[in-house]
């Protein structure tokens, strides 16, 4: 009798067995890294919760190191073979990461090349394409706009509803808005130049008509006459008694958010920073200034979510990335972080007309590798020394040539 019962139990277990692993299997954990940003961190938390509810077998573990340490941590871990499953990289890093074999291609089960071509703005996927294969899906799509503190602008006799249209207009308006103490030190900046990248990119991509970084020739072209003209505008902004800002004024601080600057060029995502740090500021968003007599050109930039080629959970990782970059994901980024959509059909959902319209004038930046520090140092050298701009620009361009060659070798 007992033996028969045992046989029946074994048979029952065999029948049930195929369903057991699904029940007992521990959830897959996806390790996700991206650099910290005030607005995007909250949006990501919300997305993780939604994704985990929809996918009970997958857990997402996030880590958001500060931007300054992000790439050091990421590359060390990738080199050691212990990198995260999913991470984000900027468009200028695409070539290096793909060539190094760090990235897993987007599987057709997640998104076919046709789907990617049809669903995303082409400039937000192009740098991540090799032939017909894509290695990342776009996120953090940004261009540049100009923020105006309404109250401070009116105080200076300016009308925020009529923002400066050209660089000359901006310089004149910013000079009016700049305040100095008795010793001549700036105590209110006309233009917050803390985000150097935004200001010089706005200038370079408007003044230089060809590529700013010629990847084929592996050289920077901003030491050309057009490039020098762009840097000369930076000189006007930063040098002499007519300077509208200085690295000496509140160094490293958020001047605009602290109500110590009137104009500020930054990405639309900065709206979430303002909401978090200075929700009381009444501000206007205007297009960045253009070169007099020329059409507006707006530098565009994006990051991409990618999957580690050595991930043991590639399928689940791509499922997560697919969710992050889906229409639902993009709506969350737009609403909570102030990002732009990578999918054109979502653009009407962007509430700000200037942010929406500026996208039509986007020219994607063509920077390559980790060379931003060279241009940032050039900016500081223009501000802090009296060395002729041409000389500084040529020295920087030479350094950038070496940096680009290193990145593309």
């Amino acid at each position: 009798m007992r033996v028969r019962a045992l046989w029946i139990l074994c048979a029952a277990l065999l029948l049930v067995a195929p369903t057991l692993p699904a029940v007992a299997q521990p959830p897959v954990t996806i390790v996700h890294w991206q650099h910290f940003h005030e607005g995007r961190a909250n949006a990501l938390r919300g997305l993780v919760q939604v994704f985990e509810r929809q996918n009970p077998g997958i857990r997402v573990q996030t880590d958001l190191p500060p931007y300054e340490q992000y790439f050091a941590k990421l590359l060390s871990s990738l080199a050691a073979g212990t990198g995260p499953d999913v991470f984000q990289i900027a468009m200028e890093n695409a070539e290096q990461f793909i060539n190094a074999g760090f990235l897993a291609p987007v599987p057709a089960s997640v998104a076919t090349p046709e789907f990617i071509r049809d669903n995303y703005l082409s400039w937000t996927t192009e740098r991540f394409r090799r032939g017909s294969q894509y290695y990342g899906l776009p996120t953090d799509v940004q261009h540049l706009v100009m923020y105006i503190n309404d109250e401070l602008a009116r105080e200076a006799g300016l009308d925020p509803a009529k923002p400066p249209e050209t660089w000359d207009d901006l310089i004149a308006a910013a000079r009016r808005a700049t305040k100095r103490d008795a010793a001549g030190n700036i105590v209110q900046a006309g233009l917050d130049t803390r985000y150097r990248w935004a200001v010089y990119s706005s200038l370079l991509y408007q003044y230089v008509e060809g590529p700013v970084i010629d990847a084929r020739a592996r050289r920077a072209t901003y030491d050309s006459p057009q490039g020098i003209a762009a840097w000369k505008v930076a000189e006007t902004l930063l040098r002499g008694p007519g300077a509208v800002d200085s690295p000496r004024f509140l160094p490293g601080q958020r001047k605009w958010e602290f109500r110590r600057a009137v104009f500020y060029i930054n990405h639309p995502v900065n709206r979430s920073v303002i909401a978090a740090l200075a929700p009381d500021i009444k501000y206007t968003i205007a297009p960045i200034p253009r070169v007099a007599g020329k059409k507006l050109v707006v530098p565009g930039h994006h990051w991409a979510y990618v999957v580690n080629a050595k991930s043991r959970n590639v399928e689940a990782a791509w499922k997560w990335v697919s969710f992050l970059t889906s229409r639902t994901g993009q709506r969350t980024w737009m609403k909570n972080a102030g990002d732009l959509p990578a999918t054109p059909s979502l653009l009407p959902e962007e509430p700000n007309a200037v942010v929406r319209d500026s996208l039509r004038f986007v020219r994607p930046v063509d920077y390559v590798g980790v060379c931003d520090p060279i241009r940032n140092d050039l900016w500081d050298a223009i501000a802090l020394t009296t060395t002729p701009v041409e000389q500084l620009v040529r020295a920087a361009a030479e350094k950038e040539n070496a940096c680009v060659a290193e990145a593309l070798k």
């Binding site: 050091a72 190094a100 150097r196 160094p251 520090p373 140092d377 802090l384």
Partner: protein, 325 residues
């Protein structure tokens, strides 16, 4: 391990059947003791190999390779070391580090030694309180301290420039000015380490026999003479130790310049403005973990190690004075 027993004792065990066939190893006492000693040292030795010797050997191996994180390792021999000579950033970081050392170490000595002598005097009241106050900067978190000092040195709204303004003095841009950034950061380096040197000097002062001081006073020596002829010479071992430690610390400084020169969407390794606070370890960090040239970074790290060893040996040679009580 076999006990060290005379041969005759071994026979009593050997008489037991099959065990008698196994020859016993008899060790001399010195070998026996050495084996025990190495046995006790083994855990520490294993740790040393794992966390010091192996990484050091790995770094040495790396320093003769070109290894961008994005590419494969390639043997370059002494190429990385030769590259140093033509690298302006290497020379800049060396210049900044030497300036830091030449400014910070003497300043700490000049301040901490008199403070220690003062706090060692018998007539001082509230001695424990003063010692605590001077030691607080040492135990305070370096990152937090650096942040606070950064705000204090703010050119427009900082308390330092406010005080200078009240005195009618000039208001430098401090951390935003390539000429003033390093002095500002060095001030914090001095402030942070005075307490540590003071405690070491206090310990040294308390080892000096009081008889010597009393005898000198009876012979009519003034307090100044007692200090220069008795205290300072007898404090030499402590002085050597403090100087060596401070110089090593100076060559390895990182946190204070890093935090004080960071921030502001620079997208670059701190050490600015214009590399004016780029100390050597920051330079190594930049090369290895921001520019991702691991081999070249390792070569820089080895040069730093050799520099520290050389400077330490020279110091010991120059300032160490043999003496007997």
């Amino acid at each position: 391990m076999t006990r060290n027993t005379p041969p005759s004792a071994g026979r009593t065990v050997g008489a037991r059947g099959a065990a008698a066939a196994v020859p016993r190893v008899v060790l001399r006492p010195s070998v026996h003791h050495a084996l025990w000693a190495y046995g006790f040292l083994l855990p520490a030795l294993v740790l040393f190999v794992l966390i010091v010797a192996y990484p050091l050997a790995w770094a040495a191996w790396l320093s003769v390779h070109d290894w961008p994180f994005f590419g494969v390792k390639r043997y370059v021999g002494l190429g990385n070391y030769l590259r140093l000579a033509g690298d302006p950033l290497f020379w800049q970081s060396l210049r900044v580090t030497v300036t830091w050392t030449a400014g910070v170490v003497p300043a700490i000595l000049v301040i901490s030694l008199p403070v220690a002598v003062f706090l060692n005097a018998g007539w001082i009241r509230l001695r424990a309180l003063y010692r605590t106050v001077y030691f607080i900067p040492v135990i305070t978190n370096a990152v937090a301290v650096a942040f606070v000092w950064r705000w204090m040195f703010d050119p427009t709204f900082g308390i330092v420039n406010w005080a200078l303004g009240m005195l009618g003095l000039g208001r430098p841009a401090w951390l935003a000015d390539p000429r003033w950034a390093l002095p500002a950061v060095m001030v914090v380096g001095v402030w942070k380490q005075i307490g540590q040197a003071m405690v070491l000097f206090l310990a040294g002062l308390q080892t000096i026999p009081q008889d010597f001081v009393d005898a000198a006073r009876i012979d009519g020596a003034s307090p100044r003479q007692v200090f220069w002829k008795i205290t300072l010479p007898l404090l030499n071992p402590t002085l050597v130790f403090v100087v060596v430690i401070l110089v090593i610390n100076a060559f390895r400084v990182f946190t204070i310049p890093y935090v004080m020169s960071a921030g502001g969407l620079q997208a670059r390794t701190p050490g600015g403005p214009l590399d004016s606070t780029r100390v050597f370890v920051l330079h190594i960090y930049d090369i290895a973990f921001q520019r991702f040239a691991m081999g070249y970074g390792a070569a820089n790290a080895f040069v730093l190690m050799l520099l520290v060893i050389a400077v330490t040996l020279i110091q010991m040679r120059l300032i160490q004075r043999p003496f007997e009580y």
